[in-house]
């Protein structure tokens, strides 16, 4: 199936406080397109968590949002250190974030679980030393 719309973002890995700009921008675009509020909330929160992860762990990356008739696909790709143990990383409360990140309110080990919670499908492809690609799908109710 071909996509209707694509939004592409470069996620800046150097400025932690500006993280979230892509997600807020996506939220605005989806609202403009008239998608249901709960779908917008799911997509933008899942994307924000992914964006924060890329900034904390991977010096940034790229984000693509593909909008189809019946679903929204979020693809996040970075060239960071990769995830050693994905099952462990998926556990609520597990985090490798440093203290400076925790003091900002992140690094609680809820990022990946939230991404799973707010999406209908989530796939993580990660190679240590090479990078991580996360693909998430949120279905649009018909």
């Amino acid at each position: 199936m071909s996509e209707i719309l694509n939004f592409h973002y470069e996620v800046d890995g150097t400025d932690f406080t500006s993280a979230g700009q892509s997600s807020v921008s996506v939220k605005k675009e989806l609202r403009r397109l008239g998608l249901p509020a709960e779908i917008i909330r799911q997509v933008s929160i899942a994307m924000y968590e992914g964006e924060i992860n890329m900034v904390i762990h991977a010096h940034g990356g790229v984000a693509d949002i593909n909008l189809y008739e019946d679903k929204i696909e979020i693809i996040l790709e970075d060239h960071g250190p990769g995830i050693k143990d994905i099952d462990l990383a998926m556990q609520e409360g597990y985090s490798t974030a440093k203290e400076n990140i925790r003091s900002l309110g992140f690094g609680a080990g809820m990022g990946l679980p939230n991404m799973k919670k707010y999406t209908d499908e989530m796939y993580i492809d990660s190679v240590v030393g090479v990078g991580t690609k996360v693909r998430m799908i949120v279905n649009i109710p018909g």
């Binding site: 993280a19 909330r41 924000y48 968590e49 900002l104 992140f106 809820m110």
Partner: protein
């Protein structure tokens, strides 16, 4: 209850009152931002002592009705400016999160 009414009833300071007519439905208390994103609902009052720039993005994405800063927490000017730009309601009080939650719960 609207955000403006809440501000008046509890004598809260308006740091940024971008959408005073926004209706409040329930609340959430928390400082760990991913917990807030996992648990806070659209329309909630979000009580926190966290003050960095990321709270504005979290408030926007979770679609909470307003942030209430507890314990007299102050925002930097650039955070206030971003709240205005993103039209996020931010109120502030010297009271603790516990006292604020109890008082807000009685009101709404």
């Amino acid at each position: 209850m609207t955000v403006e009414k809440l501000k008046n009833e509890l004598n809260l300071k308006a740091v940024c009152l971008a959408d005073p007519e926004r209706e409040i439905e329930g609340g959430y208390v928390g400082d760990l931002l991913s917990w807030v994103m996992g648990k806070a609902q659209s329309g909630n009052v979000w009580i926190t002592i966290m003050s960095n720039m990321n709270i504005i993005a979290v408030a926007s994405l979770t679609d909470v009705a307003c942030i209430v800063l507890a314990e007299g927490v102050q925002l930097d000017e650039n955070v206030v400016n971003t709240a205005k730009l993103k039209e996020i309601n931010v109120l502030q009080s010297d009271k603790s999160a516990f006292d604020l939650a109890a008082e807000i719960s009685d009101l709404i």
